[in-house]
């Protein structure tokens, strides 16, 4: 034909010319070679136009494969799209819209597509029969991981994924509507129009770039005009309605509980790279009150010898390539069909100027009109015939061998169009557990039980005729809208005809003696089905796992039914008894990136900063993650050789002068109400109703099973007003726990909780000069003496008009305060504090120094509050009230939790002075073997203590408090740090608490 670069492109102006935009030529490459196509092409149609038949090599046998379909069901024409970091393997050439500069490469071939060394696998094919994974490479066992599997994976793999990070981003979005219409074929368009005209909020999702579905592929008429014009007009009307959202390039891949649907919008897959800021894909959650499922049907192939050769194509796909794309997949065709629909392919091929050698139909008789029309086109009709084999190679089909009444004849052909009938797309109807129903009339499964809110219309429901699809679609759309409270006067039905669709079942041409493929993508043959049957893998679920039928990326869209029907024939079961594999979402592959959406990199988890964050950075803090927060870990100064030097300096400064630490991340919960005191008495092990106003108390909370959940200081500001503090990590959890206790357990209590963590910036001021520093801050009018604000006292004190709260509490063991100021003043107050602190010779300190000092004081923290300890284990048993009930009280009294030989908190010091301790080391009796039976506990926290001038640690040791002074072994094989240690009191510094009361 006319164009040398596109030899198979039908000429413009012919009876069939397609609807690509010939004014917009597009250049692309396949395996490095340049080609051209037109806007409106898919990669597949452009390759056909260019005369490329061989697209890839098959999975196991490396057989040459071409283009089999014209849609998302494609099992053969899988390619690697794009290069570099955007390389995407296993992409279906039939769904890729052609764009200028498109780069594609064949996959699973070496060294080249035309000459593939591993095609030798075809000769070794007995090794690759069904179940070969389980029996071929079993010996010697060690060879599997080291030799066989890597070898097979290289030989039988498909595309290569890019190893670079994905440069694109993916968006998530939520949408809501009254009626979701899935698919824009005749039924979908009719449904969307009916629902849209009624005023309902409608979302119409179409997988293709264009609306119309099969209307784009057929030469049918609606209202006496070509059907694609109807699709265009309907699309125009729908887009003009403000209540209708038309989403093309969007596949609905899953139906989920409570009428929520998952959809993937390919925003920028049809261009080289997304424009700046544009996501590649958008992942939609669509909540729809009603859904009209008009996903259409997929044509099924027939299993016969050589049915995988390049040039064997679904009959409906041939019509798509002719009528929509204006390309001719072959010049000399044989049509093999079991149903009336396939005959239209012969007619369209003739109209496009191709030669049709014969229509082969296994039925003994068909509608007279079909045979007459074929004869008029010069097409031989071979009724009662079968194709038993197709010959050819990498260059494509050369002939079809047809058997009619036992006689064979060879028909020269370069195209074999196949139709075994149509399978409704039942996937969405099964995602919530619905079982499809077998239809004898259609020889296929049709939707059975439907999920709530869904109706199915058109070919998806087995209604294959055009007029019927339009009518049923319209009814379904109107009914769905009516169910949401919208109605409109019914519009006149568009005029269309119902074409003949009679079908007789044929799954497999048993006469075939050549390799006949059931699953083209996974290379499962008819013989594999027979073998699975012979070896006892007869249920369809076993068949699937044993042969890998339907387990490829296409999930058996063109293979499952044939495979199951062949097994049914072998076992003598009816298809209605055999059933079908239940499909799960997604209906088509969805990139992991789309599921992740923005939840990656910096958006993966919010990073929370305190008001003092900027100050910390300006002052050289090294930051550390503390739950979702970033906190200063330490503040290195020039000349300090490592973090330990810095931390030692910070600890010494606090213990000898003063230091300031940002503790804003601790959870703070405002608790108010007449029953606040009673409430706290029920959630803490110790009593808070007796706490005087203006005082703070350390409290321990248990889980109901008796283990320690959290600890912290709670202060009383009024009879009915407390402020609780929690650990940083548990802030949200404790808030939820308190809400649960109030709402579910004791709703009668008058108490309410508000999280005020972020209302306040809070700074610990610790060290002998802490009071002096604060007196300078507050000025001479404020009395901070021991009498005015004693240890464990708290007061609200205005600071130049700013309301502040000052707590005399100490985590470090020094004379210490915590100063809380409203967060917007946090940065300024921190600056002021630090200026004063510096002038006194103090310094800021971070979480490391804080941790060292709490270990020196034997205060427990996260390492000890690890969900496995009870209050007694931590030396806090005496806090537990014996007079009343509280959460965890009864269960904490279980004998095993009361046992004296439970691991209990102690301090440890290395025997060898100066030796480093490691947390996680297990405690063994001196000289005992390092076996679990001798385990007596473990080291929870360690630190280098500048105050003790050596390493110290906290440990949980069996019968610990009775063993102070005993020498035991700390076993740490993980870090090769075995050593003897001495058990001691966990309080290493100021055991009498003189300093903090100073």
């Amino acid at each position: 034909m006319s164009d040398m670069a596109q030899p198979n492109r039908l000429p413009a102006g012919g009876a069939i010319e397609g609807r690509v935009d010939r004014n917009r030529p597009l250049a692309f490459t396949f395996d490095g070679k340049s080609y051209s196509g037109y806007a409106g092409d898919t990669l597949a149609s452009a390759l056909i136009a260019a005369g490329v038949k061989l697209i890839g090599r098959s999975f196991k046998y490396h057989r040459p494969r071409g283009i089999f379909s014209a849609g998302p069901e494609e099992p053969n024409a899988l390619i690697e799209l794009r290069g570099g970091a955007r390389r995407e393997p296993n992409t279906r050439a039939t769904t890729i819209e052609l764009y200028d500069g498109l780069e594609a490469a064949s996959q699973n071939r070496w060294p080249s597509l035309a000459f593939d060394i591993l095609a030798i696998n075809q000769i070794a094919s007995p090794l690759f029969v069904g179940g070969f994974y389980y029996k071929t490479f079993m010996w010697p066992a060690s060879f599997w991981e080291k030799v066989y599997e890597p070898l097979i994976r290289r030989a039988a793999g498909l595309g290569r994924a890019s190893e670079s990070p994905d440069p694109d981003h993916y968006e998530k979005a939520y949408a809501f509507c009254d009626v979701l219409v899935v698919g824009s074929g005749p039924a979908g368009l009719a449904a969307a129009l009916a629902a849209g005209r009624s005023g309902a909020r409608v979302i119409l999702c179409e997988d293709d770039a264009q609306l119309g579905g099969r209307l784009l592929s057929e030469r049918q008429t609606i209202d006496d005009a070509p059907a694609h014009l109807f699709a265009a007009a309907a699309g125009g009307e729908l887009r003009s309605l403000p209540n209708v959202c038309v989403m093309s390039r969007t596949q609905v891949f899953g139906a989920y509980d409570s009428e929520v649907y998952g959809a993937l919008e390919r925003v920028a897959d049809h261009v080289t790279a997304p424009a700046a800021g544009v996501p590649r894909q958008r992942f939609w959650h669509i909540a729809a009150k009603r859904c009209v499922n008009a996903m259409g049907a997929t044509e099924r192939p027939i299993v016969f010898g050589g049915n995988d050769r390049p040039g064997v194509m679904l009959a409906s796909a041939v019509r798509t390539y002719l009528n929509r794309f204006g390309v001719l997949p072959g010049r000399k065709a044989v049509v093999f069909t079991t149903n009336d629909d396939g005959w239209r392919t012969a007619a369209d091929l003739v109209a496009a100027g191709a030669q049709v050698e014969a229509v082969v139909d296994p039925r003994a008789s068909v509608d007279e009109n079909l045979t007459k029309a074929a004869a008029a086109g010069g097409v031989r009709v071979l009724l009662g015939g079968y194709i038993v084999n197709v010959t050819g190679g990498a260059r494509g089909v050369t002939s079809a061998i047809v058997s009619v009444a036992g006689k064979r004849q060879i028909l020269t052909a370069d195209l074999v169009a196949v139709s075994g009938g149509w399978n409704p797309q039942v996937a969405l109807t099964t995602h919530r557990g619905g079982k499809p129903r077998w239809s004898d009339a259609l020889s296929t499964f049709v939707p059975g039980d439907l999920p709530d809110g869904m109706t199915v219309a058109g070919a998806a429901n087995g209604d294959l005729g055009l007029a019927e699809s339009l009518r049923k679609g319209s009814e379904a759309g109107a009914a769905a809208a009516a169910a949401c409270g919208f109605s409109a006067a019914p519009a006149p039905q568009p005029r269309a005809e119902d074409e003949p669709t009679a079908v007789a079942p044929l799954w497999h041409v048993a006469e075939s003696r050549h390799k006949a493929f059931v699953d083209l993508q996974n290379d499962v043959t008819a013989d594999d089905i027979t073998l699975a049957h012979a070896e006892g893998f007869r249920s369809i679920e076993h068949l699937k796992r044993y042969t890998t039928l339907g387990m490829a990326t296409d999930q058996g869209k063109t293979s499952n039914l044939n495979g199951h029907a062949m097994m049914a024939a072998l076992t003598g079961q009816a298809m209605s008894d055999v059933g079908t594999i239940l499909s799960r979402p997604p209906h088509q592959p969805v990139a992991i990136g789309a599921f992740a959406g923005h939840h990656r990199d910096r958006h993966f988890r919010p990073t929370r900063h305190t008001a003092g964050h900027a100050w910390a950075l300006e002052n050289g803090a090294v930051m550390v993650e503390a739950g979702p927060w970033l906190r200063p870990q330490y503040f290195p100064r020039s000349g300090e050789k490592d973090w330990l030097t810095t931390v030692v300096r910070e600890v010494r400064t606090v213990r000898s002068v003063v230091g300031v630490c940002d503790v804003s991340t601790l959870g703070r919960i405002d608790i108010q109400g007449r029953d606040a005191a009673a409430f706290l008495d029920r959630v803490y092990v110790n009593t808070f109703s007796t706490l005087p106003v203006g005082k703070a108390r350390y409290g321990v909370m248990l889980r109901e099973d008796g283990f320690v959940m959290d600890d912290g200081t709670t202060s009383r500001f009024a009879e009915d007003h407390y402020v609780m503090s929690t650990t940083t990590a548990n802030a949200a959890k404790i808030m939820q726990h308190l809400e649960f206790c109030h709402q579910a357990l004791w709703p009668e209590l008058d108490v309410s909780m508000v999280s005020v963590t972020e209302q306040w910036s809070q700074y610990a001021v610790a060290g002998p000069k802490a009071r002096e520093l604060l007196m300078q801050l507050y000025g001479p009018d404020v009395d901070l003496s021991n009498d005015a604000l004693p240890y464990m006292g708290c007061r609200e004190i205005p600071l130049r008009g700013i309301p502040t709260r000052l707590f005399r509490i100490s985590f470090s063991g020094e004379l210490a305060y915590e100063l809380a100021v409203p967060a917007r003043y946090g940065a300024a107050v921190l600056e002021a504090l630090m200026a004063l602190c510096g002038a006194l010779g103090g310094c800021p300190y971070g979480t490391e120094a804080q941790s060292v000092m709490r270990i020196e004081k034997g205060h427990v923290a996260g390492n000890e509050l690890n969900g496995q300890t009870v209050a007694r284990d931590l030396g806090l048993g005496r806090m537990m009230s014996t007079k009343r009930d509280y959460i965890g009280r009864v269960m904490a009294g279980r004998p095993a939790l009361m046992a004296p030989d439970r691991p209990t908190l102690v301090g440890i010091r290395p025997v060898e002075k100066g030796r480093r301790l490691t947390a996680g080391a297990h405690i063994l009796p001196g000289g005992a073997a390092a076996v679990a039976a001798n385990d007596q506990g473990y080291v929870t926290s360690v630190a280098y203590s500048p105050t003790c001038e050596g390493w110290i640690g906290l440990a949980l040791v069996v019968n610990g408090p009775a063993r102070h002074g005993e020498r035991v072994h700390a076993f740490d094989a993980m870090r090769n740090n075995d050593q003897d240690v001495v058990i001691c009191s966990p309080v290493f510094v100021d055991p009498e608490g003189v300093r903090l009361r100073g």
Binding site: E259, A287, D705, F740, P747, V890
Partner: protein, 95 residues
């Protein structure tokens, strides 16, 4: 995103909620008169039914209220929602 009917806010996305497990479990008391069996039941014994299950849910990123949900564990259908401390209201569907 499943939709859960909050009795206070109406249908909302599942990600706003937390499931608190089986509902209608009374905390035993007074503590001095309850035996170990009752505590074990309270803490550890759950019905895990096939079919209707009554659960408590928290609309954590919404009205912060705990409430009861009667849910079918097979079909995931929510059969009824009702406030804490109330009994399951009858529906057309059944119990």
């Amino acid at each position: 995103m499943l939709l859960i009917l909050c009795p206070y806010c109406g249908p909302r996305a599942e990600i706003e909620f937390r499931c608190g497990g089986e509902s209608h479990i009374e905390r035993p008391g007074p503590y001095s008169e309850v035996d170990d069996g009752a505590w074990a039941d309270y803490l550890f014994t759950r019905k895990n039914p096939k079919g209707e299950h009554r659960e408590r849910w928290l609309h954590a990123a919404g009205c912060r209220q705990w409430f009861n949900v009667a849910r079918d564990t097979v079909s995931h259908t929510i059969l009824a929602v009702y406030p804490m401390g109330k009994t399951r209201p009858p529906t057309e569907a059944g119990t």
